[in-house]
Amino acid sequence: MTPTPDRTRARHDHPALLEARGLAFARNDEPIFGPLDFALHPGEVVLIEGDNGSGKTTLLRVLSGLLAPTSGEIRLNDEPLTLARLSPQVALLSHQGGLKFELGAIENLRFAAGLHGVRSGISPATALAGVGLDGYADVPVRQLSAGQKKRVALARVLLAPVGLWLLDEPYANLDLDGIKLVNRLLENHANRGGAALITSHGAYAYTSGTPRRIPLRPASSAIDDRGTA
């Protein structure tokens, strides 16, 4: 596909944490999104907007490296991302959350800490307190509400020692407090030099500052948003 040359303007201060060039994805010859060109720099929060079925989930899975793009290139810290060599620099929050329902919230976070490592200055317990679930440490995730499960999953993202967050519908299932919490987490993450790409169908947008938006339109009609199925 056509790589777009005009990225020099954005590159003068920092290398982009994430850069997509001519990124497109098609399933069974049916285009899902793209081609897209964008770069994500430290301190940026970018909102991917689109209707149901416009390929938001699929885009995040492609950017995390779980799906190979049909064409185009993804670069993380100026290095190409390939399916064989996934980047350890990405934390993905997907629809399923990646939590074990039989385990307590803190057990889930301890496992995540062992698997991905821990950001310095934070522990599973403080991450759990940071998402407002103080006192729920030993409650099995099965017994938590959908919004509380989302908060535990957010605590997992918060814990990961990575610069780039890919959050799929982080506002779904959350109450007003939770929405403010997500915004605060995103703001803090951006302030310490991280970047985040979040999807939303527009109901609860990131409110701090004016985030850049990447509109996604269905590349063709009648494609469902089943990136995770």
Binding site: L86, L92, G97, K100, L103, H116, S120
Partner: protein, 227 residues
């Protein structure tokens, strides 16, 4: 910002999987019950003559344990796939094949090892011949890890499909047949007073090969299943 060590990741994964098995320990008994039922039905169908049962004992126990293992195989990655933990494993900075090897080891420890421990009891139900009392568990000790490793690759390939049970069996059984032939063959040879070391050595060689290659194949298959 430093990722943890690979050893810590493997330890965390093993601890989590063992905790999960403990929390669902009711399910963990199912394969044993299944094998027990299968073995207990044979004397009812064939009649209680010890001579007749002794002739088929090793083979029946082998098949029962193989099928019980097949029953438990689908749970290897299913839960992790459905709740999204599998993509977290794939996205971790550690070698996926190593993490999957840890999962397979835990799965073998919690499903196959209990079956091997009850194998002498199953043999007793069928009047297992005296010289086989130690050989049968020994052959199973070589055969069941091989079954788990081969099965894991097939599970990784089919985990993305709903209701993959029959397909999984079709994929797995051709790979299981040689293991069954060598394992049960060694027992039958010993019972007939023939040398039985060669088939066991074949099993051992295949196990070493699978230990190295199966986790790699498993990782590749899972990446395909997740996309």
């Amino acid at each position: 910002m430093k990722p943890g060590s690979t050893t810590a990741a493997c330890a965390a994964l093993i601890r989590r999987d063992l905790t999960l098995v403990w929390r669902r320990r009711g399910d963990a008994v199912n394969p044993i019950l299944f094998a027990l039922i299968v073995v207990a039905l044979f004397p009812l169908a064939l009649g209680p003559e010890p001579e007749q049962l002794r002739r088929i004992a090793a083979g029946v126990v082998f098949v029962a344990i193989l099928l019980a293992g097949l029953l438990a195989l689908d749970t290897l990655f299913r839960g992790d796939y459905e709740d999204g933990s599998l993509e977290q494993l794939v996205l971790s900075p550690h070698p996926l094949s190593l993490l999957l090897a840890c999962k397979i080891v835990v799965h073998w420890l919690t499903t196959a090892l209990p079956l091997i421990l009850v194998a002498p009891l199953l043999g007793e139900l069928l009047h297992l011949a005296e010289p086989l009392r130690w050989l049968l568990p020994g052959a199973l000790l070589l055969a069941t890890p091989l079954l788990s490793l081969l099965g894991a690759v097939c599970v990784a390939l089919t985990v993305g499909m709903h209701r993959s049970g029959m397909l999984l069996a079709l994929l797995v059984l051709p790979l299981y047949v040689p293991v069954l032939i060598f394992g049960a063959g060694a027992c039958n040879a010993a019972q007939a007073g023939l040398p039985f070391i060669a088939p066991l050595l074949w099993l051992g060689a295949a196990l070493v090969l699978a230990l190295v290659l199966a986790p790699l194949a498993c990782a590749a298959a899972l990446r395909i299943s997740l996309s």
